[in-house]
Symmetry: C2
Subunit: 236 residues, 2 copies
């Protein structure tokens, strides 16, 4: 049975890496001793080693070992044999590019369908959606496709930001961008605010954290979904 | 000889469409009676007709006629025969997608090399760069390539925003995103603030407007370029 945590961000303002969600992760990974880390998104341009070290240090505090996928000769085997998987944030275009280049999308699907617990933050959450078309990231590389894993039947907009009524900046708001997306695409989009995450167990999807999440559906007004409630019924 | 105006935005806060730059455009288009408008980027999801109407109403105030490229049976011929060309802002992915779909990139190159005056704002400026890899837009469609017109030997980051020291949002700053870009790409990037534009005449490129622009070069510290100065020497 599918077991996912799909988080908007790794870090909330003023606290350490994954700190806000560490109690949840302690429980989520309770039967796991080693977590396979996928550092392909290279947050702030970190090397795979540097990025893996950050994840390693954090998970050491809850007695979990972390190994980077780049430390294996065969990344496909690494995914299939992992006890648990964590894909970190960074640039979604480069993450997706590397997932295709290393041909691990089918292996991630197999692993997750077989019940391997999967944690995503930010870019690592975007790839759980049907496509990466609602990323906020800059298209710094050209991936072979925008199609992603479809572990959930909608797309994620991570780091969701409400329009700032005081802003004098003329760039599009997040909501405007997502509305433009729905001119060309049917798939719904969930705007996950920083500090929110989804808990997925099989077909059940529950919103967690202290905030509501904003659901965008084609040809409908956006609505706010409440935390600690089942939300899968919106996607049937 | 190439004649371009490459503007960060169509509109600055608190004023009408193109109002801040209209005196400049009156001079730029002084020998022109009709402007071909390319509405493919569909700002805020407007239809081609709605978007063209906005450009038409604004240019009517300086006695220019505007025709939409979608009003022609053959968009390639429309570009080649245009007296002047204006590509408006919106979503850069969809704009580039339509430029490829309608196969007008070579015609835009021919027209501009032959001296047809070209105005771009926002997405319409991004496509003047070597690639669209520094757009801020959401990847709502998958274009066949990120390669763009290369009228200038660098890329544009339109609506450039300085980091906000008071922000508690954990999404990447614009500068962080552009630094990530330079891990994978050599081409320089010019962050153009809203209200800034480039005046291109042949090989001369002059920054205009009330702001400096921020230049990002691979493996160098970012620098501020001054307004009303030649900047082409940075790209030799």
């Amino acid at each position: 049975m599918k077991k996912l945590i799909v988080a908007s961000t790794s870090t909330v303002h003023g606290s350490g890496y994954l700190a806000y969600i560490l109690p949840t992760l302690t429980d989520f990974f309770k039967e796991v001793s080693t977590i396979l880390f996928i550092p392909y998104a290279r947050a702030s341009g970190k090397t795979y080693d540097e990025y893996t070290e950050i994840a390693r240090n954090t998970f050491a505090t809850i007695d979990k070992e972390v190994v980077g996928i780049h430390e294996f000769d065969n990344p496909k085997e690494a995914v299939l044999q992992a006890e648990a998987i964590f894909t970190g944030g960074g640039n979604t275009f480069e993450l997706v590019n590397q997932l295709y280049k290393n041909d691990i999308l089918p292996d991630l699907t197999t692993a997750v369908e077989n019940g391997t617990p999967y944690l995503g933050t930010s870019a690592g959450s975007n790839i759980c959606g049907v496509t990466m078309m609602n990323t906020n990231d800059m298209p710094i590389v050209y991936p072979p496709s925008f199609k992603t894993l479809g572990f959930i039947p909608f797309n994620i907009n991570a780091h969701y930001l409400d329009p700032n009524p005081d802003s004098t900046h003329m760039g599009e708001t997040r909501e405007t961008r997502i509305k433009e997306y729905h001119i060309f695409n049917e798939t719904s989009v969930l705007g996950l605010r920083e500090g929110s995450w989804l808990e997925v167990n099989g077909n059940s999807i529950v919103l967690r954290g202290n905030y509501t999440a904003r659901l965008f559906q084609q040809n409908k007004e956006a609505v706010e979904l409440e935390s600690d409630k089942e939300i899968s019924q919106y996607f049937n």
